[in-house]
Symmetry: C2
Subunit: 317 residues, 2 copies
C-alpha cells in the first residue's frame, strides 16, 4: 500500500462521487471516474468544474485548472480501477446495487487495493460478504456536500484488514478530510445516530405541543449550533463548568438521565405527525422553493467553511 495517494478511481459519479473527485484531485492525485450511466459519466467533468470554480471563488481552492486536468473519464469499470491505489465507490444506496458493484470491483482488484464505500447507513458486511477480496472493503461515509464538509466516517466490516482504517485515515487526512473511526458496525454509524437522537427528541417535543418546528429550529441555529460549528459536544460541556467535564457531569447528568427516562417508550414518526411537520415546513418554504433554498444552504456552507479556515489559519500563523 502506497503511503501517498497517486491513483484514485471513483465509481459512481453522482453528487457524492463528483465531490470525492474534487477532494482527491485537489489533493494531488490522478482521478479516473466511471459511472455505468453514460450521461452521468460524461456529464461529470462539467459538474466537477463547477464545484472547483465555486470553491475557488470562496477562497477554498486554488490551481483548480491543474486539479481538473488530473480528472479523466474511464470508459469501463476495469479501466477506472486499473492501477488505482484506492477506489471510492458512491453508487446508489441500496443493498442489491451495492452488492453487485462490490462483486465486480472485488474481481478487478488485487490484495493491495483499498475500496471505500460512501454508504451513509448500510454497513459493509451486508454487501461485501460474498465479494472477492472482501477484506479490502471499508465504509468511507462523507457528508453532503462532501467537497465542503470535512468529516468522513470510516467503518470496517468484521473481515476488513486491520491495516486499512489507519492507512485510509492517514491518506484522507492528507487530502484535507477529517476522518473519524467507528470501531465496529452499528446502525446509523456515529453521525446519523447523533442526528437521530436529537431529531427524535425534536419530533417528540413538537408532537407533544411544546414548541413549533420553527422555534425548535431556532433553538439550534441561534443557540446550540453556533458552538457545534467549531467544537464537538464533549469539548462544549468540558468548557461549560469551571472544573471541566466531570464538574459538568456532577451538575447536569441527573437532568439528562431524567430526559432519557422520559423517552423509554419511543414512538414512530406517525403519518399524522409527519403531515403536521410537513404543514409547518411547507408554510415556511413552499415545495417549489426547495431547490433554491438548497442552493442558499450550499452558498452559506461554502462561506462558513471559508470563514472557519481563515480563523484556523490566523491561529496557526
Amino acid at each position: 500500500m502506497r503511503q501517498t495517494l497517486r491513483e484514485v478511481a471513483i465509481v459512481g459519479t453522482g453528487l457524492v462521487g463528483c465531490s470525492w473527485a474534487v477532494d482527491f484531485a485537489l489533493g494531488g492525485a490522478n482521478v479516473r471516474i466511471f459511472d455505468q450511466n453514460e450521461a452521468t459519466r460524461t456529464g461529470a467533468p462539467a459538474r466537477i468544474k463547477t464545484m472547483l470554480a465555486d470553491m475557488e471563488a470562496a477562497g477554498l481552492a486554488d490551481h483548480v485548472e491543474d486539479a481538473l486536468k488530473r480528472v479523466s473519464v474511464a470508459a469501463t469499470l476495469a479501466a477506472a480501477i486499473d492501477g488505482a491505489d484506492y477506489v471510492q465507490e458512491s453508487v446508489f444506496e441500496r443493498v442489491d446495487v451495492k452488492t453487485a458493484v462490490a462483486l465486480e470491483i472485488g474481481k478487478l482488484i488485487n490484495g493491495e487495493v483499498v475500496v471505500g464505500s460512501s454508504s451513509s447507513g448500510i454497513p459493509a458486511s451486508s454487501f461485501t460478504a460474498g465479494a472477492p477480496n472482501r477484506n479490502r472493503f471499508v465504509i468511507a461515509h462523507p457528508v453532503n456536500p462532501p467537497h465542503l464538509v470535512p468529516v468522513v466516517e470510516l467503518v470496517p466490516a468484521p473481515w476488513t484488514d486491520p491495516e486499512i482504517v489507519p492507512w485510509l485515515r492517514a491518506r484522507l487526512t492528507e487530502v484535507g478530510k477529517v476522518p473519524v473511526e467507528v470501531k465496529r458496525e452499528i446502525d446509523g454509524f456515529i453521525l446519523n445516530r447523533l442526528q437521530g437522537a436529537l431529531l427524535n427528541e425534536a419530533w417528540a417535543l413538537f408532537e407533544e405541543g411544546y414548541a413549533t418546528t420553527a422555534d425548535i429550529d431556532a433553538t439550534i441555529s441561534q443557540g446550540l449550533g453556533l458552538r457545534w460549528a467549531f467544537m464537538g459536544p464533549f469539548e462544549t460541556i468540558d468548557l461549560n463548568a469551571p472544573g471541566g467535564v466531570s464538574d459538568y457531569a456532577d451538575r447536569l447528568a441527573p437532568l439528562y438521565f431524567r430526559v432519557a427516562e422520559q423517552r423509554i417508550s419511543p414512538r414512530k414518526w406517525s403519518p399524522e405527525l409527519v403531515a403536521r411537520v410537513t404543514a409547518e415546513r411547507r408554510a415556511a418554504l413552499p415545495l417549489e422553493d426547495l431547490p433554491k433554498r438548497s442552493q442558499w444552504r450550499d452558498r452559506r456552507l461554502v462561506q462558513l467553511v471559508a470563514h472557519l479556515r481563515r480563523q484556523r489559519a490566523q491561529e496557526d500563523g
Copy 2:
C-alpha cells in the same frame, strides 16, 4: 405594559446579568443593575464595558459609549426595580435562592411589570408559587455568553399571565434576541433536552467503545454542526430529500426508530464512565488550560456571530 422597553432592571450581575445589561443597553433602554454582593455590583460596569468593547472590535456593536452611559448601578433592589418596565433576574441557580429573590421582587412590583428569570432548568412554578404578583413571572433563559448567542427560551408557569410571553417575545426581538416559546414547563426546556438527547447518545457510543471522544466531537464540529450553525434540524432534513421532510421521513424514520429502540434502557453516566471521558479530555486539554480555551471559544464565537450577521446583511441587500 409599554410597547417598547425603556426602563429595565437587572438583578444579579454575574456573567449572565452583565450580558443582559449589554443586550438591553445596546437596544436603547436605560438599565439599572443590582447585585446583593457589593463587589460583584460595583465591578459590573467594568465587565459590561469590556463586553461592549469586544463586540465593537468584532463589528457587532457601535455607539457603545452611549450604551454604557445608559447603564447605572442601583444601591438597593428597590431602587433598581422602581419604574422598571421589565426585570431580568439572573441570580444563582438554586431553588432556595431564586425563591427568596422572587418573594422580594414580587413585593416591589405592581401588576404591570414583567419579571424574567434566567433559569436554565428550574421552572418558574418551583420558585414563584408563593411570591406576590406571581402571575408576572416567566422564565427567559439565555445561552452563554448571552450577549453573543441570540436564542432565549421563554417558559411560562401555569399561572403566568397569557399576555406576557407574546409581549416579552416582541420586546426581546426588538433588542436583537431570538426568543423561542416553550408552551408549558418541561424538564430541561427545549435547548437542554436537545443537547441532552445528543449527549446521551454520544456518551453511550463512547461507553460501548464505538469511538473516542475526539472522533465523536469531530463528527459534529467537522460535520453536522456546520449546517446547524445557520439552519435548525427540521430545515436541515427538509432540504435533505428532493420531496422535503415527508420524503426524508419515508427514507430515514425507520433507522431513527431503531436507534431509539436501542436506547430504551438508559444508563446513568457512571463515575467510571465520567472518569474515562475526563481522562480523554484532560489528555486533549490540561485542566489549567481550560480558562484559556474558554477565551478561545468566546473569540471564535464572536467572529462566527459577526460572520453570520454579515451573511444575513448581504442577503437582505
